[in-house]
Symmetry: C2
Subunit: 161 residues, 2 copies
């Protein structure tokens, strides 16, 4: 598996990953009816942001986007989002994407990385981020409506570099 | 003072308020070089969001925007932002705008209201929100670069209805 910059030809494999994730409504507070065009605009980051894929040969296993979390006086903090194809989970793809994003953000000179809305019940993501150095700095109670669990919290997670 | 819906003719008074606030870089993580057009797009909310002004006769003293904090599974939580003209501060304009936003959000059926990035050193805002029922659910350390205080935290504040 290699992590490389996203190119337009990857979209035919990246969009189904995004569509699966947003339709499930279990891990991202995104519009589940998002169109492919809107998703492309949201996921394919223009510089100074960056979008990558984790690929095994021709196959895209997962994808990440990263960039500045807030403009102006907040622009020293980065953020990132990760999605892994359903049948590629549990194999370290998310960890590899997270490490790649952290390396990139450090090299860009950011002071830290913030995740704004990590679904509390998404244990594999929360555990992964903790292993990679993030802490939960706060949880907005019930801010995410999970299809089977009902209202669960959204963690804000942060790591200073 | 009345609080009423923002109309386009208010912009000549609203833009200077926004410009002052974002140029000061003390209270909002917004781009201080934001153009008037970008500011209009950011501040004048399309339905289901809403933008209001606090007016004393012809004079605009302050403004607020409010709407849904996150799409999809996060859409039951509202958010709002408030700005008051420098020479109208300390007179209850912010409190009136905050109460108006809370009333609106309750009537719209939201389950709560979240503020995503309240600058820790902005004591008058933090105290006002606390008085109106919000709690700090977490603070991202150093996430805001204040022009004189250096890096200060950004509070996430929340109120369940």
């Amino acid at each position: 598996m290699v992590i490389r910059e996203f190119v337009e030809q990857d979209w035919s494999q990246v969009w189904p990953i995004i569509q699966d994730v947003i339709r499930a409504q279990e891990t991202f507070p995104y519009d589940p009816a998002m169109t492919p065009d809107a998703a492309y605009g949201m996921w394919a980051e223009a510089p100074p942001g960056r979008t990558v894929v984790a690929a095994d040969g021709e196959r895209v296993l997962g994808t990440a986007k990263m960039g500045t979390n807030r403009p102006g006086p907040g622009a020293h903090v980065s953020t990132a989002s990760f999605m892994v194809a359903a049948d590629a989970r549990g194999q370290g793809v998310g960890t590899a994407l997270c490490r790649d994003a952290l390396t990139w953000a450090r090299h860009q000179g950011y002071a830290g990385m913030q995740f704004n809305a990590v679904v509390e019940s998404n244990r594999s993501a929360v555990d992964l981020y903790r292993r990679e150095g993030f802490e939960v700095v706060g949880t907005v109670p019930g801010a995410f409506r999970h299809p089977t669990l009902g209202r669960v919290g959204l963690h804000v997670m942060y790591q200073e570099f």
